[in-house]
Symmetry: C2
Subunit: 241 residues, 2 copies
DNA sequence: CCTACAATTAAACGCTTGTTTCAAAAGGGC
DNA sequence: GCCCTTTTGAAACAAGCGTTTAATTGTAGG
């Protein structure tokens, strides 16, 4: 029983993580992993049972602490304020991503591409357990957000939480693609910058009057002349066609 | 030269699209595709040269019209108003997604999973040409958005455009995952609903005061009345720690 | 009818994949 | 020393992959 930091097991995990993040799980062969980790091919099946077992271990190692940190942050927040303000909640949700991606011991930047691939890869076994942990996180944050936004219907909050996840995951995971698409204009120095820019954006989004239930117009009126209602009807018209 | 609608070529494209969307490109074998399309295995290499050629054709068939529609919408919009209002621009960007996903002839719902996988799959050849067309779209919309939002710095607009793409792509592409995570609470009847809910969200986000430009003004109290401005300083403090 | 080209077919190619086998080496406990 | 368990090692396995070949069929044009 060797619990050294660079044991065979750990080296496999590190190599697999790197290659999974770079080229995706299905395109990464065990031989490429074991070559990079400088271990024997059979070691993967010995330590993890199968490739799928390795995949799950790789994801679990990173996503579990992330979700735990999110829950811990929220708990601490709710202990301080009874009902934390919106920005604090959003920050509690997003900051763990920054933390783990700036700490090499927690995986560094590669983790994020991994996170982004979680959704698309659709690795059956991963999504299974992942949805369990992750769902609890989303539920807890949904509750907190609903208390912070009493004027927004809970169903709408759920949607916006999904929008947040999308807006957070995509630019963070596909940074290189984003940079390619935006030329030199956007160059995220670190994930912290992404979050810092994302926070005001989603905070305002969460506070927006709900599109479906908005008979009320308490919103701050932008300088625009076009009323909020006029575009809505035009939207709905086209959507129903 | 058979240009029938269910020629071998078309049947391959349809089958490939379906399987790519369901299980991803690398996990979909040519044999599975040709079996579903009920054509010979060699037909793929005959008509598309290689698997990569098929992948590119599948993506191109859907994404090219989508991007074209986005450009066309924006053009028409700018002809009507000189500087279109924010919501109209966002709508012009998002609606083509709805249209193509509700029209089976344009691909129907599967297109969206395909779209979502574009980013994660990192299929080399696809991203190459895709980034060309797509970048033009993003650039044009960036210009329009900047004119609609003179108070937001152009760089910030670029970021927010990326957030929009993420928020649009993720729930739309991973609908089944989203539903799994949110239980019965969220059930998107169609993509139109997603867009309809997303529009007010991102519109408010785009209008939010820029987090970076608004350096250290007087800090109002965060607790007071949901002041829009006070949150920024507290955020920055924690992010810099 | 015949020619030429397009399209389809069945079979095989070489290669890579994940996994297994079995023997050798290493690591304590007594 | 020895024994037993854990871990590594090299080699092979069957299965699946994308691709190619070569023979066949289909379909106009002269």
């Amino acid at each position: 029983m060797t619990s050294l930091l660079d044991s065979t097991k750990e080296r496999i995990l590190a190599a697999a993580e790197e290659l999974f993040a770079k080229t995706g799980v299905p395109r990464t062969s065990l031989r490429a992993i074991t070559a990079l980790a400088r271990v024997n091919l059979a070691a993967v099946n010995y330590h993890f049972g199968s490739k799928e077992g390795l995949v799950e271990a790789v994801y679990r190692r990173r996503l579990e602490p992330l979700n735990k940190a999110r829950l811990r942050n929220l708990e601490r927040l709710e202990k301080k304020h009874g009902d934390p303000p919106l920005e604090a909640i959003l920050e509690a949700f997003m900051l763990p991503v920054v933390e783990c991606s700036s700490d090499p011991a927690q995986g560094g930047p590669t983790v994020l591409r991994l996170l982004g691939q979680t959704h698309a890869e659709a690795e059956e076994s991963v999504q299974e357990w992942f949805s369990g942990d992750y769902r609890e996180v989303l539920d807890r944050y949904h509750d907190a957000l609903c208390r912070a936004l009493p004027e927004v219907p809970p169903e709408e909050v759920r949607w916006r939480l999904q929008f947040l996840v999308g807006a957070l995951t995509y630019p963070v995971a596909e940074r290189q693609l984003v940079e390619l698409l935006s030329g030199e204009t956007i160059r995220a120095r670190d994930v912290g910058e992404v979050v810092q820019r994302l926070l005001p954006f989603v905070a305002a989004g969460f506070r927006a009057p709900s599109g479906t239930a908005a008979r009320q117009r308490k919103a701050t009126r932008p300088k625009s002349k076009r009323s909020t209602r006029s575009r809505k009807t035009s939207t709905r018209k086209r959507l129903n066609s």
